[in-house]
């Protein structure tokens, strides 16, 4: 925990891990141990989340979009990550509604469509374990943009944007169902995929996949989540 906190507090951008080509696509380094148990180090699931963000200029239409957003919304943007020609804007959750309203209404942005919301669980990022990721599409300008909001496990609340983008109704229900993220202000936040009386939120990383041993020609094969892992 404390190790992780110090990572969060660092303000200097952290370098991304080397491309697999630089360390071998099979990930062997050092002893060449192939058992999968040799390299037991604590990993940060997505280093881009902890880094301070991409420095300007971002390139393409990204600079203009971020400028317009930061002018319209006061202090809502935490950081901007440009990776693989995709723009991700991390937004403080209390500013989310302002940001998406601007995205929809500003004529220079005009992101008509929010293509749902997707949860991602990073148990190692203390204080920001749950991420809600919103892909946006502007048909007018033919642009895409991703908004990312984080919430701690202890307080899994994110404002609902159904009032701005009605299409997110079911998507937010799905993310609540799978991650336990509470979308405040949603008209009817109920489970959508799992049965109503289900315990737990199955896409979280602390929720086991389940499964039983299978016997095949005398050998016993463990369920997928108990097999040897290489990463």
């Amino acid at each position: 925990m404390s190790e992780n906190d110090s990572q969060l507090e660092q303000s200097t951008p952290q370098p991304l891990p080397p491309h697999p080509k630089e360390r071998g696509a099979f990930g062997t380094h050092g002893s060449g141990d192939t058992s999968g148990f040799g390299g037991l180090v604590r990993r940060v699931a997505n280093p881009a989340n902890l880094a301070a963000g991409t420095p300007r200029p971002y390139g393409s239409y990204f600079d203009g979009v971020v400028d317009t957003l930061s002018e319209s919304v006061d202090g809502g943007i935490e950081k901007v990550v440009v990776d693989r020609d995709e723009l991700t804007v991390f937004v403080a959750r209390d500013k989310l509604l302002d940001v998406v309203t601007t995205l929809r209404d500003d004529p220079t942005l005009r992101f008509e469509m929010c293509l749902g919301v997707n949860g991602v669980h990073y148990p190692d990022e203390s204080g920001r374990e749950l991420h809600a990721v919103y892909p946006f599409l502007s048909i007018t300008h033919n642009r895409r943009l991703r908004i990312e909001v984080t919430a701690p496990d202890a307080d899994p609340h994110v404002p609902s944007i159904v009032s701005v983008y009605p299409s997110n109704n079911w998507h937010e229900r799905e993310t609540w169902d799978f991650y336990g993220l509470v979308f405040d202000g949603h008209p009817a936040l109920t489970r959508i995929e799992m049965p109503d009386d289900w315990d737990g939120h199955p896409q979280r990383k602390d929720y086991p996949l389940g499964g039983i041993d299978v016997e095949y020609k005398g050998a016993t094969i463990p369920p997928p989540d108990e097999r040897r892992r290489y990463s």
Partner: protein, 442 residues
């Protein structure tokens, strides 16, 4: 309970009031005797022949008029996204192809494009592999639209449309089997290319299928376009205008039925779509009839693209990236003892190259590593924008794989399309959305 209850299946008391089960032929008796003029809440599905799979509709009726309609989903949830987190990136294809089972190639391509973007090898995918992907997707678009038209026709009583629809689809499924080995759930498109090159006589079979489709596709237009019964059931039914489509995030034929020619193949071309000649058909009737006409027009456009693909595929070439750290090593072939790795490959790894053996072993057991990060890749599936959000932690398995399935999103429009209309029109409205529950619930 009074003794004069005539319906057969009975009634049971619940905390919300009595729940009546009608079993057919007894609807009049029930409404007259028990309900009178009160509003009725009807549960339709999830096991109902005209709800396109296990879709549950909860309808509040005032006579024959629907005052409120809500869709219930989740009956086909299989946890595909969760399962993918426990398999290699390559094995993920085998899972996601099973989501929207009417358009497996689109699921595969959307996912594989995301993986390739994460790997940074989008540019290295061989030309021939991209052309094969486009050909498969467009043939798949035809077979998917055929089912949409066939089942939609069946649900309004046009049984011949159903039988001919499945007849043509069968031709395409046979073709898929010839080309990929499987009729459905192909797992044919893999990160870096496709799993196998076309078989020697593959292109001839595609040409035969094109000839068949060119002869039989006009039948749908002849059966339906000016058929007065068909038009009375579909014209003005399932109405959703552009404002509604935008608010509800609709894509695909429903959006194009408002006249907006939004198609990802044109606006954000992938797999080289910008090099093909095709049009984006639209209608401005905003109803089920317009969506039917769009689907028929799209089948013709797809056929046109397939013909261009066949032309390009006459030149041989590689179908997998050259990078041996990513390309799936083995090729399957049929030997005297059944399907297995090709003898040529076995000879190579067992007798010639130690590196090839190591690559084979490592790729098959561990899989390749994908640099950490996240991407969103989208393709124009027969039902609209199929988006994939992939997160990698730098390992051999996805940290998160999420599919934005168009059916899931578009089903939200059932309420807007159905409320205020007749009960029978709900069926037409749902059919015009063409939801596939395997994709909705994943």
């Amino acid at each position: 309970m009074s003794d004069d209850v005539t319906f057969t299946a009975g009634v049971r008391e619940t905390t919300e009031g009595p729940v009546y089960t009608v079993s057919g032929q007894d609807w009049d008796a029930m409404t007259a005797e028990i309900v009178g003029n009160e509003r009725v809440v009807v549960n339709m599905g999830p096991q109902h022949p005209s709800t396109h799979g296990v879709l549950r509709l909860i309808l509040e009726l005032d006579g024959e008029t629907v005052t409120e309609a809500r869709a219930g989903v989740g009956y086909l949830h299989t946890g595909i996204e969760k399962n993918m987190e426990y398999r290699t990136w390559t094995q993920g294809v085998t899972f996601c192809t099973r989501m929207d089972y009417l358009s497996p190639f689109f699921n595969e391509v959307a996912y594989v494009l995301g993986v390739e973007k994460l790997l940074g090898i989008t540019e290295q995918v061989p030309e021939r592999a991209s052309v094969i992907r486009v050909m498969m997707m467009e043939l798949n678009r035809i077979s998917s639209h055929l089912v949409a038209i066939a089942t939609g026709g069946m649900e309004i009583g046009a049984l011949t449309v159903m039988t001919i629809g499945f007849r043509e689809r069968e031709v395409l499924l046979h073709l898929f089997e010839d080309l990929t080995g499987l009729r459905m759930n192909h797992a044919y498109i893999r990160p870096g290319g496709v799993s196998q090159d076309l078989p020697p006589e593959g292109l001839d079979k595609v040409r035969e299928a094109i000839v068949w489709l060119r002869r039989h596709l006009p039948e749908y237009e002849k059966f339906c376009n000016e058929n007065p019964i068909f038009k009375r059931r579909t014209v003005g039914v399932g109405y959703l205008d552009l404002t509604g489509c935008m608010a509800l995030g609709m894509t695909g034929p429903v959006l194009r039925s408002t006249g907006l020619p939004h198609d990802l193949r044109k606006s954000e071309p992938y797999c080289g779509y910008e090099t093909y000649d095709f049009d984006v058909p639209t209608r401005d009737s905003m109803d089920s009839y317009g969506r039917f006409r769009i689907r028929v027009d799209e089948m013709w456009q797809s056929l046109h693209i397939v013909e261009q693909c066949v032309e390009r595929l006459e030149q041989p070439g590689p179908v997998m990236v050259e990078d041996k750290k990513i390309a799936w090593p083995a090729q399957l072939s049929i030997g005297s003892d059944g399907l297995g790795n090709s003898m040529e490959h076995i000879r190579h790894i067992m007798g010639e190259s130690m590196e090839a053996l190591i690559h084979h072993f490592k790729l098959v057991t561990e899989g390749f590593r994908v640099p950490a990060g996240q991407v969103y890749s989208a393709v124009e599936s027969p039902r609209g924008e199929l988006g994939v959000h992939l997160v990698s932690d730098g390992g051999t398995r996805p940290w998160r794989a999420h599919f934005r399935d168009p059916s899931f999103n578009n089903l939200q429009a059932v309420s807007a399309m159905a409320e205020g209309g007749q009960v029978a029109d709900i069926i037409v409205a749902v059919a015009s959305i063409d939801p596939v529950m395997g994709g909705v619930d994943r």
